[in-house]
């Protein structure tokens, strides 16, 4: 009856799940706000200043300015992906929160949609925290960099949807390590993040463009923070929109298959 691609019926109640996570996030805000702040500093110092003092420039751009958007994009990826893998899995499997929620007027579609929306919101919050740090170091330009905030939501949705697919099929919390190490880590290194994509062999460039969602997010992010907008932004945006739509729909259907028996 339900296929991976059937359009899920989501209601406004999904925001109640989102709101629950938001409340918990802000209640423990100290734990939640420091990591992205520290992360921003660490990357800027270690890679930006450290490696940057040798590399100086890439394509005429100061190295720190080159990697600043990549750090933002990686942060978008990590916050949504880990929220909707480990975070959602804990709520689903250990806390049985989803079971408790679907005993109310919420449907499983509402619950998963709410979780995905929350994952994306987390990405937005992290970017909002990191932007002032980068601004203080003068490595990003305004006002275009402010568009990183809505972009974080879109990128967050994409990675939350992808993450939720893994969560829906993972046999245990341990096997979530596979996508983390085999997908997220390589992506963080080879998506035009710390060196330009063009340095890769041509075949790998195509692989990165075809299979690494982060490539497209980094590309747009860089166009915004430098700023250096080109027509390519439309291609990158279209790619992200398509992939986001597919994975969010499949994620909800997979979760339904897993939880509604």
């Amino acid at each position: 009856m339900y296929h991976f691609w059937s359009i899920p019926r989501i209601t406004r109640r999904a925001w109640k799940v989102w709101h629950r996570n938001l409340v918990v996030f802000f209640r423990t805000w100290k734990v939640n706000f420091f990591p992205p702040l520290i992360e921003a500093f660490l990357y800027l110092f270690a890679i930006g200043m450290g490696i940057g003092s040798y590399v100086k420039e890439i394509d005429g751009i100061p190295y720190v300015n080159f990697i600043a958007p990549a750090i933002l994009a990686i942060s978008v990826m990590n916050s949504a992906f880990f929220e909707c893998t480990y975070g959602s899995y804990v709520r689903m499997y250990y806390q049985k929160s989803f079971d408790a929620m679907i005993a109310t007027p919420l449907s499983i579609e509402d619950v998963i949609a709410g979780e995905i929306l929350w994952g994306a919101t987390r990405s937005v919050l992290y970017v909002i925290i990191m932007l002032p740090v980068f601004a203080a170091f003068g490595v990003i330009s305004f006002p275009t960099s402010l568009l990183a905030i809505p972009l974080a939501f879109l990128g967050g949705l994409m990675f939350a949807g992808i993450a939720m697919c893994f969560t829906a099929i993972t046999p245990s919390i341990d096997t979530l390590n596979y996508p983390s190490f085999l997908f997220i880590t390589p992506m963080a290194l080879f998506s035009g993040t710390f060196f330009p994509l063009t340095l890769l062999p041509i075949l790998f460039q195509y692989i990165a463009l075809a299979l690494f969602p982060l490539t497209h997010l980094v590309a747009i992010m860089r166009m915004l923070t430098l700023p250096d907008l080109t027509g390519m932004v439309l291609f990158n945006l279209a790619w992200i929109l398509l992939v986001t739509t597919i994975f969010c729909i499949v994620a909800i259907n997979l979760m339904r298959r897993r939880l509604i028996v």
Binding site: K16, R27, D99, A100, I102, P105
Partner: protein, 307 residues
């Protein structure tokens, strides 16, 4: 026929639930009327929880008709669930919140305005005697407190129907009695309650009507008292198993059952049986007790262990 007809809350006709080739619920039918406490008894794997989940609109049925408040759970799950209170078998309180926070957050899922939700949460904490734990995270609660909080949580929306899956599982007698008392209060207020339980005493105390399920089927339905009378009788005479007793009972054509090293005789008149035993069978130990639901249960579902 006088007076208003009592509204029907749940109608189930030939309800079936399959998991692959396994039949969990095998074409059962029953009706629950408003104000009734309706119990499901049965060994593990009898299909009780599957039935509860189907009524609670969280598990789709394979076939059959089902109406809750006159609505089909396949079509109107949210509308039905808005009026349900569910106590699941597994404790699934939200560990990120306090007792109060659990009730308040849950209220939001039912679209209850915050002011009313707050007031209701405090009333319910008092109802289950947890007001002192109001601001304690649920992880610090004992098992009994958690079950009480789950009961309170099931009541945030003033449900028209309460579905309780093993409400007192693993509780000490004090906590169990408190929950029973509260359920009795809810029943007195006219609530409709459907519950499953392993505890036959619980079923006998609480239920107006109950069914005994095994292997996905309903074996019998009736009030606890009627079932005992109909399937066992008034009393049970237990006598120590000896060769003399066994041959003597067989000789007198008195039906009996051997359980371990005792012989059980179900009877309407224990005096007669006891007299016969003492006059003819030279028994060692003899004990007379009233028949209980447990005797019915074991008679119908057998004594083999269930996994």
């Amino acid at each position: 026929m006088g007076g208003e007809p009592i509204p029907v809350i749940i109608v189930v006709q030939d309800l079936e639930k399959k998991f692959g080739d396994i039949i969990a619920v095998d074409k059962i039918s029953f009706t629950v009327k408003k104000g009734e406490v309706f119990g499901f008894l049965g060994p593990n794997g009898a299909g009780k929880t599957s039935t509860m989940k189907i009524i609670a609109c969280v598990s789709p049925r394979t076939s059959g008709t089902l109406r809750v408040f006159g609505m089909d759970p396949d079509t109107y799950p949210a509308e039905i669930k808005l009026r349900l209170g569910v106590v699941p078998q597994e404790t699934n309180l939200d560990p990120d919140f306090t007792c109060f926070g659990n009730l308040f957050t849950y209220s939001r899922y039912f679209d209850i305005p915050p002011d009313i939700a707050r007031q209701r949460a405090d009333e319910l904490l008092e109802f289950v005697q947890l007001q002192e734990k109001r601001d304690v995270t649920v992880e610090k609660l004992s098992g009994g407190m958690k079950r009480r909080l789950i009961l309170a949580r099931a009541l945030v929306n003033n449900p028209d129907l309460l579905i309780l899956d093993e409400p007192t599982i693993g509780l000490d007698p004090q906590a169990r009695h408190l929950i029973w008392e509260r359920l009795k209060m809810l029943q007195a207020q006219g609530n409709t309650i459907v519950l499953t339980t392993h505890y036959l005493e619980e079923a006998a105390r609480l239920c107006d009507l109950l069914v005994i399920m095994d292997n996905g089927k309903i074996l019998v339905e009736g009030s606890p008292g009627d079932l005992v009378k109909q399937y066992v009788g008034k009393e049970i005479v237990e006598v120590e198993k000896t060769k003399e007793v066994l041959s003597c009972l067989a000789g007198k054509n008195i039906p009996y059952e051997v359980i371990g090293d005792t012989v059980q005789i179900a009877t309407g008149s224990s005096r007669e049986i006891v007299r016969t035993l003492f006059d003819h069978c030279s028994p060692h130990k003899v004990l007379t007790r009233p028949a209980t639901l447990e005797d019915v249960f074991l008679k119908l579902t057998g004594r083999k262990l269930r996994e």
